[in-house]
């Protein structure tokens, strides 16, 4: 497998990624020799309530995008339900800008299994699946091998390490659908159907996989759990900022000198991350804007980026920490082209179930593509904003919001660029002075 690692940067806080650079990091023996399954062993000495309490104390929030507190999510599962309870790992990783789950899958797959086992103990589950995007085939095979090894060595299956806990786990391949990263659509895909989202409530904690109570979190969220138990929830919370505990993997891409996946404390300054970790904007250029957490997140202009990177601070700044997929844009970035490309993505990935998203993303894609070509009137820019505003909050699932938010941000913050494109097209064939001409359309 290709090496995806860089030299660790002194400003990283290496906790979750601490086994990545060990020789044979993905082998179970390396894992066991380096605290592997120690968190799970700790979990076996704790009651489910104690595990959930420690997670709540840690302020670990979902690392997939929404940032919902993990402990709280697990506490919603009805342990007294007579139905079987399930653990599902969201490894669909398709948010543009995001490439971090891939690192955990490649370099420390047993960590994921450990996190899942702790969840199984916390909710009383005996079955789970890791839903992996179809394009990650090499990682699916890699995880299959890890799972087989775990069974062989008694870390999966019946009476795990004599604990009395049974747990079966397997991979589930996707086949190319961003919407299947949405938790309810993922569950539909797991059941062998089109990845259309479900009406919520009920949430997966009540009605999840195969209509049974289910805990469903991102790969990185499960991966963080062992250290919460090993080092303690308070320790984990103190690494970050109030209500935003721990560390997270940050994917820095775009116009930087050292793109890569870096592990940072929640609360690290965003500009510091770009300038120190990623070596600053490339080619000696100036920073123009940053998309902080995946393409769904409203873009932040350079002057808005001097903020701590945690869920609450980014929320206050009008954006989101999201999936940690940070795309950095320099002064040459074409924001109109960017807006058009982002909408092209959402129009393609729209599941088609609800009208505002299906029609809204398609219509917006048409207008934005046309505006990128300089064809249109200034009123069309207003139409883009109105459409996005009307789509936001009116769709069946958050994909519509994910399309609307970045569009509104780009249009509102970079409107002059849209107008300039229209103006440039209009004057491209300006009539000679003193002559009459018909209106020009390209």
């Amino acid at each position: 497998m290709e090496n995806l690692l860089h030299e660790p940067h002194p400003l990283e806080t290496i906790l979750l990624s601490r086994r990545f650079r060990l020789e044979n990091s993905a082998s179970i023996d390396t894992f066991l020799a380096n605290d592997g399954f120690a968190g799970f062993r700790k979990a076996l000495t704790m009651t489910p309530e104690e595990i959930v309490a420690e997670l709540k104390l840690s302020n670990l929030r979902g690392r997939g995008g929404a940032g919902f507190p993990v402990g709280m999510k697990w506490s919603f599962v009805d342990r007294k339900s007579t139905k079987p309870r399930y653990v599902v790992v969201n490894s669909d990783e398709s948010e543009p800008g995001t490439c971090k789950d891939r690192m955990i899958l490649q370099y420390d797959p047993f960590r994921i299994i450990e996190g899942v086992l702790i969840a199984a103990r916390a909710i009383g589950s005996e079955r789970g699946w890791i839903y992996m995007r179809g394009e990650y085939r090499y990682l699916i095979e890699h995880m299959n091998a890890a799972i087989a090894t775990a069974y062989e060595r008694g870390w999966l299956g019946k009476n795990i390490q004599g604990s009395g806990l049974n747990f079966d786990f397997s991979t589930q391949s996707g086949a190319g659908a961003y919407e299947c990263g949405e938790e309810s659509a993922l569950l539909e895909s797991l059941e062998g159907k089109r990845g259309n989202p479900r009406l919520k409530p009920p949430f997966p904690a009540q009605v999840g996989a195969f209509q049974c109570p289910t805990v469903l979190n991102n790969v990185e969220s499960y991966s963080a759990v062992p250290d919460v138990l090993l080092k303690g929830g308070q320790y984990y919370a103190d690494l970050g900022t109030p209500r935003n505990g721990g560390t997270r993997l940050l994917c820095i891409s775009g116009h930087v000198n050292r793109p890569g996946v870096y592990e940072v404390r929640l609360g690290m300054n965003m500009l510091q991350a770009v300038n120190e970790l990623a070596g600053g904007v490339w080619k000696g250029r100036k920073l123009k804007a940053i998309i902080p957490g995946g393409s769904s997140c409203p873009v932040l202009k350079a002057e808005e980026c001097d903020i701590p990177m945690d869920y609450d601070s980014l929320g206050k700044a009008g954006s989101m920490l999201g999936s940690g997929g940070m795309v950095v844009l320099d002064e040459t970035a074409d924001m109109v082209k960017l807006a058009a490309r982002i909408m092209k993505f959402y129009a393609h990935e729209s599941c088609g179930w609800c009208i505002p998203c299906r029609e809204g993303t398609t219509w917006l894609k048409k207008i934005l593509t046309r505006l990128d070509d300089g064809i249109g009137a200034p009123a069309d820019i207003d139409t883009v904003e109105q459409l996005a505003v009307n789509m936001f909050g009116h769709t069946f699932c958050p994909l519509g919001d994910a399309a609307a938010m970045p569009t509104m941000a780009i249009v509102r913050k970079f409107r002059p660029e849209f107008e300039a494109k229209l103006q440039a097209a209009r004057t491209a064939f300006a009539p000679a002075p003193g002559t009459r001409s018909l209106p020009v359309l390209r």
């Binding site: 290709e2 995806l4 079987p84 990783e93 398709s94 948010e95 543009p96 800008g97 995001t98 490439c99 789950d101 891939r102 079955r127 699946w129 995007r133 179809g134 394009e135 990650y136 085939r137 090499y138 079966d168 397997s170 589930q172 391949s173 996707g174 086949a175 190319g176 659908a177 961003y178 895909s189 797991l190 059941e191 062998g192 159907k193 089109r194 990845g195 195969f210 994917c251 820095i252 891409s253 775009g254 116009h255 793109p259 890569g260 996946v261 998309i291 393409s295 997929g325 795309v327 950095v328 844009l329 970035a333 082209k337 960017l338 490309r341 982002i342 993505f345 393609h348 990935e349 599941c351």
Partner: protein
């Protein structure tokens, strides 16, 4: 219809992974793994999978068009998927795509006459930190340039000739 022994074994194991009576959960992975061997989702394959899962062929059919990795017509021996989404776009992904189309003389989801290559403009592959990225089948290629693309094509052609 039978598949390779490895795939038959994989299918048998997969069917054990779901709660009793819920084997339809194997549908999407089965279609993808089967497509690797049959080359595309054919009506015959749809009937076969439906039969194995005890569901109607329509229940298989209605899923195929949703998932972008499933296709009803065969692609080239080397299906090159180039990402032009935002992280790759910032580092030359679009130029790479245009170069690929020009070099191979085909467009999106088209196959070269010799059946060796097909192209697809895809969405984010999860390789943003190593952009621009493409996949040749399931194989990732990172830090792509015009030159490394030309080399990839040349290497494939050379290997074909050698056979």
């Amino acid at each position: 219809m039978t598949f390779s022994p490895e795939l038959e074994a994989r299918f048998a194991k997969m069917l054990e992974n779901y709660p009793p009576g819920r084997q339809k959960g194997a549908l999407v992975p089965m279609l993808l793994y089967a497509q690797d061997e049959t080359g595309s989702i054919t009506p015959e394959l749809i009937r076969e999978i439906a039969q194995r899962l005890s569901i109607k062929p329509l229940e298989v059919d209605e899923v195929v068009d949703f998932y972008s990795m499933l296709h009803r017509r065969p692609y080239g021996k080397h299906h090159i998927q180039i990402c032009t989404n935002i992280a790759c776009q910032t580092r030359g992904g679009e130029e790479l795509w245009e170069h690929a189309c020009k070099t191979l003389g085909i467009g999106n989801k088209e196959v070269t006459p010799d059946g060796l290559f097909s192209l697809e403009e895809v969405e984010c592959l999860g390789a943003c930190a190593w952009a621009p990225a493409l996949q040749d089948g399931y194989q990732y290629h990172h830090h792509m340039t015009i030159e490394s693309f030309d080399k990839l094509v040349a290497d494939v052609r050379r290997a074909e000739k050698a056979q």
